[in-house]
């Protein structure tokens, strides 16, 4: 049986599809037993789908650096 801390880490990894099969199995079992983690997992998954739904776009660090440099030249 894994601890709640371990369960949260696996739950976060699951949001980015980086949990292994064994980890997912352990998580499933833990969620079955633990109401608190189960609620957290539900919200966490909802956050992921919200982020996907919003179709966020952002600039990479390199692009921001370039922007900054160009802006600095004009200040």
């Amino acid at each position: 049986m894994i601890s709640c801390e371990q369960a949260t880490i696996i739950c976060n990894k699951t949001q980015y599809r980086e949990a292994t099969f064994m980890e997912k199995l352990k998580l499933k079992f833990h969620l079955f037993m633990c109401k608190t983690c189960s609620a957290f997992s539900k919200k966490n998954t909802e956050l992921t789908s919200l982020c996907e739904k919003a179709e966020l776009h952002s600039l990479s660090q390199v692009e921001k650096k370039r922007m900054k440099a160009q802006l600095k030249g004009r200040i």
């Binding site: 949260t8 880490i9 976060n12 990894k13 949001q15 980015y16 980086e18 539900k42 919200k43 966490n44 909802e46 956050l47 919200l50 982020c51 739904k53 919003a54 179709e55 966020l56 776009h57 952002s58 600039l59 990479s60 660090q61 692009e63 921001k64 922007m67 900054k68 160009q70 802006l71 004009r74 200040i75």
Partner: protein, 186 residues
């Protein structure tokens, strides 16, 4: 009333993503959106002396960006022969339907509403990300929005994976709290 001041040094860090997201939603081309954001910053610098301090910095920059988007569309439409509104009969499908009938908006379509709602959601998320500590916001952004792999982020920022997951966890928990009232329907 609070008087707002401009801090051009922090513009890129604070508003670039927000403005970029706004621009991409309107021109649907990342390169053009990037240029528009850059132009917005330049225009902001040039007219900084006209800034009266009534609006918050971001509101003011968004107002400039709006003008830039309009200018962009005006420019691509003013090229010769393109000025008229284009209304083509969709020849790709079997074109034996009634033209007028096909132009009428579908009253049951939820697409437009969804687009509006998603845009609001997007700004809400960016508002919340803006409230995070800088490092957390950066890690969350790279991981969730830019979809960079754990390994690459660790290399670029010089942190180890467990460090990264702790930051992701804190960021996500904070975001859940911040978005909670309006957006979660659990």
């Amino acid at each position: 009333m609070i008087r707002h001041e401009l801090h051009p040094d922090n513009w890129v860090d604070n508003y670039a993503d927000y403005l970029f997201n706004y621009a991409v939603g309107r021109v649907s081309d990342a390169e053009i959106a990037k240029d528009l954001v850059q132009e917005t910053f330049f225009a902001g610098l040039n007219s900084a002396k006209n800034f009266k301090g009534d609006a918050a910095e971001r509101t003011w920059l968004i107002a400039i960006l709006k003008r830039k988007v309009i200018d962009y569309y005006r420019k691509i439409n003013s090229k010769k022969g393109k000025a008229e509104v284009r209304m083509n009969y969709r020849s790709s499908s079997d074109s034996d339907g009634d033209w007028m009938e096909e132009q009428v908006a579908d009253p049951f379509s939820t697409l437009e509403n969804d687009a509006l709602e998603n845009e609001e959601l997007g700004s809400a998320i960016y508002d919340c990300i803006g409230k995070l500590p800088k490092k957390q916001a950066l890690v969350f952004n790279m991981k969730t929005i830019q979809g960079i792999s754990t390994e690459d982020i660790c290399k670029e920022l010089g942190i180890n994976p467990s460090n990264l997951w702790v930051m992701i966890h804190r960021a996500r928990t904070a975001l859940m709290g911040c978005l909670n009232q309006n957006w979660f329907n659990i």
